[in-house]
Symmetry: C2
Subunit: 459 residues, 2 copies
């Protein structure tokens, strides 16, 4: 009888073609008005494939936003562990012309072993690994060594507004012993990594306005506080000279790094040359008293994600804009709380807004930070699975700069360890143009996910 690994290898091209079909669906969750049907189409596509793979109780479950896909295989019995597999099938916006993609973001293309498409790395290409691993097992062995539950959401890229209520309302349905998430990266193709912490997120919009309507900059320039200038002045007060965040109270709940933490982080330091090469920046930036891994993994941030005011099209319109807006977000670390951070930013902006303009800070979405101890048995099971598929190379244990708010939610509501074993690379261009994914990662990932099922069965 052929093994699950044999099946996965024999079906490599078929699996890739299936992934292409999934990537062709522009399931942009942020575009609720125009793309809701496409997001739902991706959910239905996955549900169909999960049924074909041999899973049961497959459902596309409505939420107030985009749906959740659920599936399970419970044939291993009550005494076997249950593995909860989380992924997301929604993607960030992408526009070939505006964002300068080389090829169409929703027409996948392989060039030199690299698959280019929105969602290829984040997260369709990674989530699909587990579907194909389970299929490979069921189509060969006929059963899995563990019980499995899939929960695939369609709102991760907009902050999962409906996932936490869903988990809270379905604790029994989602009950499991271990959760695995593949939505992260490794430093190089040859160096796998298990993520042991993720940053939280508080995403906000800052609005500043003064005049009732746009004004003529000649008539009013000099007597009216330009809202774009007022916004600039407010945003310029969000950082201290040492690049730390200036919002009062911002660091109050940050767990200080222990000497042991800092020693461990120093071992995974990212060289300046690597960051410069991958990002293209002329020089690095950040808090001088922390190294690069600490700055991205263990320290909170305040970033400007978007700026808009006045005339941004062609030509020289001499307008004094009535309004200005910034999209901003804070990445949070344990034990910061996302709602508290919103309140601190809101109050600080109010306190530094001059009487010459009005301002408002709106909360768009949020998620909590999370950490998982390295010595947790599930983390060690992941390490063994990686080593077996990566020629003996043990994974690094990394703190991740990005946010996967569901990690904290699973920990909180289901009280289970969350294993983050990803198959992206840090320069895959997630959220940017030309997002891509190493094709070999997809196939090694399926091998690793098959092995991980065996490892979890021995926990």
């Amino acid at each position: 009888m052929s093994t699950p690994h044999d099946y996965a290898h024999a079906n490599a091209e078929h699996f890739r073609n299936q992934l292409f079909d999934l990537l062709r669906i522009p399931s942009i969750s942020a575009y609720t008005k125009t793309h809701a049907d496409q997001v739902r189409a991706a959910a239905e596509w996955l549900a169909t494939d999960l049924r074909a793979a041999g899973l049961s109780a497959v459902e596309v479950i409505p939420t107030p936003g985009h749906p959740v896909v659920y599936a399970e295989w419970m044939g291993a019995g009550e005494n076997a562990p249950t593995l909860l597999i989380y992924g997301h099938y929604d993607v960030q916006p992408a526009d070939k012309v505006k964002d300068k993609w080389t090829s169409e973001p929703f027409e996948p293309e392989i060039r030199d072993g690299i698959l280019y498409a929105r969602g290829s790395s984040d997260d369709k290409g990674q989530a699909f690994i587990h579907v194909k691993a389970v299929e490979s097992y069921l189509k060969t062995v006929g059963k899995l060594p563990v019980n499995v539950k899939f929960i695939l959401e369609g709102e991760e890229e907009v902050g999962s507004p409906n996932l936490q209520p869903f988990i809270a309302a379905n604790v029994e349905k989602l009950k499991a012993d271990v959760c695995v998430i593949s939505d992260s990266g490794m430093p190089t193709l040859d160096q796998p990594a298990v993520i042991t912490s993720v940053r939280g997120l508080t995403y906000m919009e800052i609005h500043v306005w003064g005049p009732a309507l746009d004004l003529h900059s000649g008539q009013y320039g000099g007597v009216v506080h330009n809202p774009a200038l007022a916004l600039v002045q407010i945003l310029s007060k969000m950082h201290n000279p040492d690049n730390s965040v200036a919002v009062p109270g911002f660091y109050d709940d940050v767990l200080p790094l222990t000497p042991a933490d800092r020693e461990a982080l120093a071992r995974t330091e990212i060289p300046e040359a690597v960051i410069r090469r991958d990002s293209g920046v002329p020089a690095l930036w950040g808090e001088p008293s922390y190294n690069n891994r600490e700055r991205t993994g263990a320290r909170p941030t305040f970033e400007i994600n978007g700026l808009y005011s006045g005339h941004i099209e062609e030509g020289a319109k001499t307008v004094l804009p009535a309004r200005a807006m910034a999209k901003v977000s804070c990445r949070l670390v344990a034990n910061q709380e996302s709602l508290r951070i919103y309140e601190l930013v809101r109050d600080y902006v109010a306190s530094i807004t001059p009487p010459t303009v009005h301002s408002e800070v709106k909360l768009l979405n949020r998620g909590e930070p999370a950490t998982i101890p390295i010595d947790n048995p599930a983390i060690q099971a992941a390490a063994r699975a990686y080593a077996k598929s990566w020629g003996g190379q043990p994974p690094l244990f990394l703190r991740e700069g990005g946010s996967i708010p569901v990690v904290a939610d699973f920990q909180h509501y289901l009280n289970i360890p969350v294993v983050m074993m990803g198959y992206g690379l840090n320069n895959d261009g997630a959220h940017g143009p030309d997002e891509h994914y190493v094709v070999e990662m997809f196939h090694r990932g399926i091998d690793t996910a098959i092995t991980f099922l065996d490892e979890v069965s021995r926990l």
Copy 2:
């Protein structure tokens, strides 16, 4: 025989309908790629109407950009003065939905005696006054008391890039004794005003960039200088705490206000309540040691006209943008030079750009400031014309905050006084949504322009 005034009154409705036709042409000069034909159509429409009014040598003269319309009537003889009439037939961009207009910007509508349309006040509705005044004279008296030359340009709203070369190359053709421009406002319908100085303009774009592509704000937030933040930090250094401009050397060439200047300006001070009512701002802003008229008329400024970076559409995209851009402009006063100001801003931005990002300051367009002495006979002729049409009310002599760069060009190349007698109101919403124009201004304006021809003939 009926008088020019009689003719203008008898044809009031006809003149309004003609103005409607002109306003319906979306001659947006900034949109060089999409609207060049519309700008040309407005030029041709005016040429046709000038011919019908009885002018000769009517030409639509090509330039490297949008055309200049020229027309003349030289029948008053060599001993009579020649009046050069300047106006512009191009308009600012306008979009009903995006800019929140009440009615279509290019479908004129009169509501309660107010004409709403892009260009109604700035400047089609004002420039057309002179065409109709000349027509009224020629169709009744059969000749004008002075020689007249019209020069109507199509690039004023983009900084007249081709007008200065045109004037320099056509000094003989444009030779005149007095120039009149109606492209300004008065404080109220009952209080006419002659503008005795205009501010210059230096319009620039500041670009800041670092990463080669947009980055994931989680992966890189904390080690990469966010270009939007870097732009904010640069822009926050453009003003001093007293709201003066912080660019080194910016004020070096500013003519200090004499005690007499300040006394004259104090007489035309704009009350805070008026500015607040007209603009809607909660409180005024500016340099504490100057009054409102000085701030808008006698002091230079640095304004942000547009801000753009990253994700500005719906939703919460956690991007660390690769680039950020600001459109900025300085209003200048005598004797600042627009090119020198560009160089100062460029050098200052370079000096405060940190090594973590790149920056560039691009010059979009520029124009010089100008002043005309109140005791110039042409200014006094304008004052008499206003008084006769405004029930004896003499005009105020005002410094204008806006920029009409051609004033300095006419002074420089033709060595003639430039009389700025406008028929707008300061809250007409020029450059903003719901731009409008008091219909009565149009008709009083034609009366005044007829009388002004008589006054100029006596100079």
